[in-house]
């Protein structure tokens, strides 16, 4: 009995410590939130920790200015479009490719598989210059075609995850479908896809986290004067003016962070499961 009381006390202490760490985790974001509501003069490095007062509180002025001056909505749209189109394309093409790799044994399959593993190790700096030039030549340098480049670069992880799962899928179901007269395409879409759904979600989450936050690839591939994704816009916003306007900058950071955090809170179970699945396969 004494033992369990002791454990309970230790657990209580641990709870408190973990809660304190929690506060430390949330604090940077809260700090930005508070500062995004202050006037420009009150956001210097010396006054950054001051809470907004009646005098320095500006309401949503920074948000309105930030949205209009940096074309935030346009950037948001580009980011959203690029993420959705790339991830959908990656899911479709890579699951098909992975199925071929697991079911057909030959040079093409093993070649593709090793290429995928290899591509996951190669740092982006290795190909950044030549990739940007290739994209220019092939007219893939706009938000509507860039998904093809993302397919090429994100294929490694996706194929790897799908094959990891498919290896444990019983081939008998597919054979039964074949005997019933399905062709491979029908088998894939009617039989394999439904079984693949959990892995699809995991892969989609991992790839979205990557594409949505990616900075360097779109910067080098897209024309920065015409198209800016959110990370590009934030970087551009800071670099382009002589003096950085801190208030609108903070507001834009909040606008970038908030949708992601909300989305995370809504579907955190899938996200955490996705990460675990990715790690086990990876």
């Amino acid at each position: 009995m004494e033992n369990s009381q002791k454990t309970r006390r230790i657990n209580g202490v641990i709870s408190v410590i973990l809660a304190l760490i929690c506060v430390a985790y949330v604090y940077p974001i809260v700090l930005i939130l508070l500062n995004s509501l202050k006037t420009e003069r009150a956001i210097t490095t010396t006054r950054i920790f001051e809470l907004p007062t009646a005098e320095t509180f500006t309401g949503l002025a920074n948000y309105i200015y930030g949205i209009t001056s940096m074309n935030f909505l346009e950037s948001f749209w580009y980011s959203l479009f690029i993420s959705v189109s790339s991830v959908l394309l990656i899911l479709l093409c890579c699951s098909m490719c992975a199925w071929y790799i697991t079911r057909v044994h030959g040079k093409l399959s093993s070649g593709m598989y090793y290429l995928c593993v290899f591509s996951m190790v190669v740092p982006f700096q290795m190909v950044m210059f030549t990739l940007a030039k290739t994209a220019d030549t092939l007219k893939l340098n706009n938000p509507y075609n860039i998904c093809i480049i993302y397919l090429g670069f994100g294929a490694g992880l996706a194929v790897f995850m799908f094959t990891g799962f498919m290896k444990s899928m019983p081939v008998e179901i597919e054979e039964a479908a074949m005997i019933d007269g399905c062709n491979p395409l029908q088998i894939f879409f009617r039989v394999v896809c439904p079984i693949l759904k959990p892995t699809m979600i995991s892969t989609a989450i991992l790839e979205t986290m990557w594409v949505w936050n990616d900075y360097l690839l779109p910067t080098l591939v897209l024309d920065i004067k015409k198209y800016r994704t959110i990370p590009m816009a934030i970087q551009y916003f800071r670099g382009s003016y002589g003096k950085v306007e801190m208030g609108p900058m903070m507001a834009c950071i909040m606008l970038t962070v908030l949708p992601v955090v909300i989305l995370y809170l809504v579907c955190q179970r899938y996200i955490i499961e996705g990460v675990v699945a990715g790690a086990v396969k990876g």
Partner: protein, 283 residues
């Protein structure tokens, strides 16, 4: 069935293969080729042999970046994994609020590197001013530790999730059996739990090693390489060589640096996998 699927290869494999060639294989091969050339655009390329590779070693910023990245990778990998594992241990004890804690600790992962860099730049510079110390951009030591803190804040949650999954997969009867045999809590941890989560440790060290070594976004936005390129990691140094320096030779040198960087990443990945895989136990 294999034969039937094989006939459909243009449908199943070709789209991915084509994108792969455009987005990866061709730029990769071309990149290796260009590392032996001097060029400013893709049109005026002259072959210079291994000159670029020799010039790299005369560039002090690259050597410095190499050591900077190495030191950063070691510190960050150790810290992130130790702290992540500790958190995972605490969160598998069924304490109150476990779910909330897990949710909060993981959150920074979803925020992109560039944005994170600015958030921490604001916070750390405010703190440093408060303590009357030089700003991040003016002192390389603070810049280095600033990056370490930022990286820990972002990555610990991710690794923690993987460690939690690993710890939950340790069969409870194994721990029970060890306890009955008279093992202390510390012995259970060192002799049962850690050997059983070795696969998770392999993955996590692999991820943290490569992530820290390839660090770019955070580097760019937290310190921008300041002061005087002293806080540039390798990836940022390569970017800087390509796009921020004027002079005909720099692009070729940048590409050669990238090849060296790539080889370093491959070596690190292979060595690490071999080392930790050998310690894994069969279940």
């Amino acid at each position: 069935m294999e034969k039937a699927i094989k006939k459909y290869w243009p449908v199943f494999v070709l789209p991915t293969l084509l994108a792969f060639i455009i987005g990866f294989i061709w730029p990769f091969i071309w990149g290796i080729g260009l590392s032996f050339c001097q060029f400013t655009t893709v049109k005026n390329v002259t072959f210079v042999g291994i000159q670029n590779y020799i010039k790299i070693w005369a560039d002090d910023t690259f050597i410095h970046a190499f050591w900077f990245s190495t030191a950063f990778t070691i510190v960050a990998t150790v810290l992130i994994n130790v702290l992540g594992f500790l958190l995972a241990l605490l969160l598998t004890r069924h304490v109150r609020g476990t779910n909330i804690f897990r949710t909060v600790y993981f959150m920074p992962n979803l925020i992109g590197g560039v944005v994170l860099g600015y958030i921490w730049n604001t916070l750390l510079n405010g703190l440093l001013t408060l303590l009357e110390k030089p700003l991040l951009q003016l002192n390389a030591t603070y810049g280095f530790w600033g990056l370490v803190i930022l990286m820990c804040w972002q990555q610990i949650g991710y690794m923690m999730i993987i460690y939690i999954a690993g710890l939950q997969n340790v069969p409870p009867d194994l721990i029970e059996a060890a306890r009955i045999d008279g093992a202390t809590a510390r012995q259970v941890l060192l002799r049962v739990k850690i050997p059983m989560v070795m696969p998770s440790i392999t993955i996590c060290t692999f991820l943290t090693l490569t992530n820290s070594f390839k660090l770019f976004d955070q580097n760019l936005s937290l310190t921008g390489g300041e002061p005087a390129k002293l806080t540039q990691g390798l990836a940022y140094n390569i970017y800087d060589t390509f796009y921020a320096r004027s002079g005909a030779q720099w692009k070729g040198i940048g590409q050669a640096k990238a090849v060296v960087f790539f080889l370093a990443v491959v070596v690190i990945a292979l060595v690490q996998l071999r080392l930790t895989r050998s310690k894994e136990v069969q279940q």
